[in-house]
């Protein structure tokens, strides 16, 4: 019979040493216990530890909390797992095993105790001997978790001196040095003036119309209340809650505060169609269009989108580039061609000797069309009706910019500009006419290149796209 007795502090290394020596011994032949609690009567000296003892990765994490268990049952359970692991390596993943389930249950209870100590411990300021401010706290944990919790407070309250006193252990942190002493203490009577302010906060953040006392007590059981300064307010808050709510409801609406009636009315938003348009029958200029398009509800796409994405570029641009519709990033940024396809376009355009800053870039459809898939927004091709609804804006842009050449990227743009979108790959590279007679260079949309899975095909198509764009200066000169 072996009877290892573990110390109140330094428990974990002591258990590890004993458990290594006893790994091969049947759990029934060991009587585990605490040094201070129960003396051992018939104890054999522990054997030497084997040199080749290994444990799975998950083992230390599961066992560490068990060693804080107050009754000493945790030691035995931790050892039983170690012993059985030698023959059954996969044991820990089987939550249905009764030892594993029991260990998980106790570990969970200890972790909760640790968590509640982090949460419900309250410091009070005390006189400081040195330049650092000093605080003290009293806490009554269920289990022997002082060692397990000390580091949390070291990491959190690094710039002050503090002392945490429990019935069995005093933890002192002074000038950056931590010290634990196992000594019996009694609950001190102490106050801190801040406790009144804290209770004020606690009472006012409570919403009496939502009284749920059971929910509170499930998370903050009554056993903690006597060491929580704010808990003294709880009975009155509960007792007055229903009356407070009824009072609010019965009081009913009040007259508006007089000063609020005197405050200046907020300026009306800009009218949708400003009457300062330079020429009533001419084309509105781009800033006017950009302002008007914001309120557009010509098709249902405006509802789920963040914002309208209008074209941008110099009003005197000679080239107008038309894509399909804004994507996820354009919808968020409010600017066209800033997402992955836009970046690819910028790269290829630069390689083709085209400066995006000289072009007016826009889309056939001004709102992002998508379907929600879990957390992602997946691009959807706009319907003909949506392209047609937005065509009014594209027409206004064409009239305002009056470009010498339009570039249609992809079938949707081609459809919007020429009225026919079919057969894009056969028509690409050609120059067609818009409905109002402007030359349109037909090419693919850069997102088509991004979707090609085969790197070779992608390189070939990107090169073809570059050649299309490189023709622009010649077409302008013609």
């Amino acid at each position: 019979m072996y009877a290892p007795r573990l110390p109140r502090l330094g428990t974990e290394p002591a258990w590890r040493d004993a458990a290594r020596r006893l790994a091969a011994v049947r759990p029934a032949d060991i009587d585990w216990g605490w040094e201070d609690a129960d003396a051992a009567f018939f104890a054999d000296p522990l054997p030497e530890a084997p040199t080749d003892l290994t444990v799975p990765k998950a083992f230390p994490g599961l066992v560490r909390p068990l060693l804080s268990e107050r009754s000493g049952r945790g030691f035995a359970l931790a050892h039983a797992l170690l012993h059985r692991l030698q023959a059954q390596r996969g044991l820990l993943s089987s939550r249905a095993d009764s030892d594993v389930a029991e260990a998980q249950r106790i570990a969970k209870e200890i972790r909760r105790d640790i968590h509640k100590m982090h949460a419900f411990l309250r410091f009070r300021e005390v006189d400081a001997p040195g330049p650092r401010r000093a605080f003290a706290a009293w806490f009554e944990p269920d289990h022997r978790i002082e060692e397990a919790t000390a580091d949390f407070f070291v990491n959190r309250f690094g710039d002050m001196d503090w002392r945490i006193v429990t019935p069995e252990v005093t933890v002192t942190y002074r000038d950056g040095a931590l010290d634990l002493v196992a000594t019996d203490s009694l609950r001190p009577e102490a106050e801190d003036p801040l406790e009144q302010l804290w209770t004020t906060y606690y009472s006012n953040i409570f919403n009496p119309a939502r009284l749920k006392v059971d929910a509170m007590r499930a998370e903050m059981p009554k056993k903690y209340w006597r060491n929580l300064p704010e808990a003294r307010a709880i009975p009155d808050l509960i007792a007055g809650a229903r009356a407070a709510t009824l009072k609010m409801q019965q009081a009913g609406p009040t007259q508006p505060a007089p000063q609020s009636l005197r405050r200046p009315a907020r300026p009306e938003p800009e009218p949708a169609m400003p009457d300062t348009s330079p020429d009533l029958f001419g084309a509105p200029d781009l800033p006017t269009l950009a302002r008007e398009v914001e309120g557009c509800t010509r098709c249902p796409l405006h509802a789920p989108a963040t914002q309208v994405v209008f074209g941008e570029g110099p009003a005197a641009a000679r080239v107008m580039i038309v894509g399909e519709q804004p994507g996820d990033r354009e919808d968020i940024a409010g600017r066209p061609f800033v997402g992955p396809a836009g970046q690819l376009f910028d790269e290829v355009a630069q390689a083709a000797g085209l400066d995006r800053g000289d072009c007016y870039v826009t889309n056939a459809v001004k709102h992002f069309k998508f379907v929600q898939k879990g957390k992602r927004r997946i691009h959807q091709k706009p319907a003909t009706s949506e392209v047609n609804a937005c065509n009014w804006w594209l027409g206004q842009e064409l009239r305002a910019v009056d470009p010498a050449l339009v570039v249609a990227m992809g079938a949707t743009a081609l459809h919007a500009l020429t009225g026919k979108g079919a057969g894009l790959l056969k028509r690409r590279g050609g120059v067609e006419r818009t409905k109002d007679g402007r030359p349109v260079l037909v090419t693919v949309h850069p997102s088509y290149l991004l979707r090609l899975p085969d790197p070779e095909a992608r390189a070939r198509e990107t090169e073809a796209f570059r050649r299309d764009l490189a023709r622009i200066p010649d077409l302008l000169a013609a």
Partner: protein
């Protein structure tokens, strides 16, 4: 009027802040102060330091900088036309309260919101100054700043560099309700601002050519809140709007806040008791959409008028309406179907998948792992268990519905 003490102000400005549901302090970058040069640390999951009798966690000092406001939102106690007493904290007062509360282990940090005074930019800058001063003083706890939608991008950027989380409330489920109940707020502007936060965060996350990150921008992400029960929007609309918000702006959380009576109310909104059960069901449905691969159309159906069932949780409601998909064999079924079993959460499902490799599981094994067997038993087969007739029983639903308790008065 006599000068207000800090206690008067705290009472007023925390009372005004309680309608914001969020009190989370989780998911931010790891920090600590063991080097002795500062105060505070952050943990992965956050800590609730107290619970109020409304059952809600108190993790942060949640206050308004001021409850003066130029807006007149009908549902808000601080609207311009309300007769409440007004107050304003100074920068130093907020910094002092936050650090003194923190030193006593009352809180994880600060959640600062504000009424809008003078202009959006002025208000935002004052709030940012408070957070900057806290950080400059060595404070490493959690900071959550409410963002004013119309504030300039520079101020939002400054806010994100000192705060762990930013939030902008969409306020109400539909644009039309925002326009009618919060006439000065612009729903499009709110969405644009959330987009701005997402883009700025993405920009900061990109590594420079030297492989270094520029700085941490709002490491705990952004969240939002909408009030439930103040307008006529149904649950389908609310959840649809929420999932769009998650998708478009990468939100960490959408909070639903049951509209509850406020003192000094406006004539526009009736002061009913807050629809707490509806709020609870919305959170459950939100979870199913985000972590259980449910589609919106499965949870809220046209048959039910686009509303969630208040008597049973949405997963159970789905299971009851789709009994042909059951029973599910816990020892064979794939993950997606196990996740649809009432009583099985994501953790339990992972444990089942791992444990069943070691041998077939019975109901008792699943109970030991933490599964709610009572809810699941009619919907699963396991070693030694078959629901047989239970699944088809006409009163299956009734077994899960708690009898209504009589009101005491």
């Amino acid at each position: 009027m006599a000068k207000m003490t800090i206690q008067d102000k705290l009472a007023l400005l925390s009372d005004a802040a309680k309608y914001d549901a969020s009190c989370a302090s989780s998911g931010t970058s790891k920090r600590g102060s063991r080097d002795g040069t500062g105060l505070g640390s952050t943990t992965g999951s956050g800590i609730c330091h107290a619970y109020a009798p409304d059952g809600r966690c108190i993790s942060l000092l949640k206050i308004l900088m001021t409850n003066y406001c130029v807006y007149d939102c009908a549902y808000c106690v601080n609207r311009a036309s309300s007769n409440v007493l007004r107050a304003r904290f100074t920068v130093d007062e907020v910094v002092w309260l936050t650090t003194e509360f923190y030193r006593r282990n009352y809180i994880e940090g600060l959640f600062l919101s504000s009424g809008i005074i003078k202009s959006s930019d002025y208000t935002m800058e004052e709030m940012v100054r408070i957070a900057e001063k806290l950080r400059a003083g060595g404070f490493r706890g959690y900071v959550h700043l409410k963002t004013i939608p119309e504030a300039s991008p520079e101020l939002i950027e400054r806010a994100g560099l000192v705060a762990d989380r930013l939030s902008i409330n969409v306020e109400l489920p539909t644009d039309a309700s925002v326009r009618s109940l919060a006439p000065e707020k612009d729903p499009v502007g709110i969405r644009k601002a959330m987009g701005k936060v997402r883009l700025t965060k993405e920009d900061y996350a990109e590594r420079s050519f030297t492989g270094r990150r520029r700085a941490k921008f709002a490491p705990a992400g952004q969240s939002t809140q909408m009030i439930v029960g103040a307008d006529a929007a149904d649950d389908a609309t609310i959840l649809g709007n929420a999932s769009r918000l998650y998708g478009a702006y990468g939100l960490k959380r959408v909070y639903y806040s049951a509209f509850s009576p406020i003192p000094d109310s406006s004539a526009v909104l009736p002061l009913i008791d807050p629809p707490l059960m509806r709020e609870h069901r919305l959170y459950q449905a939100d979870w199913l959409l985000r972590f259980y691969d449910f589609e919106l159309g499965e949870i809220v159906t046209r048959d039910a008028g686009g509303m969630l069932d208040l008597d049973v949780d949405p997963k159970l409601a789905w299971a009851l309406a789709n009994r042909d998909r059951f029973p599910v064999d816990v020892n064979r079924a794939e993950k997606a179907m196990l996740l649809r079993v009432p009583g099985f959460g994501t953790k339990i499902v992972d444990r089942i998948l791992k444990a069943r490799r070691q041998g077939a599981l019975g109901l008792e094994d699943i109970r030991r792992m933490g599964g709610r067997v009572k809810a699941a038993r009619a919907f699963v087969t396991a070693k030694g268990h078959h629901p047989s007739g239970a699944l088809d029983a006409a009163d299956l639903r009734a077994r899960f519905v708690k009898p209504k308790q009589m009101e005491l008065f």
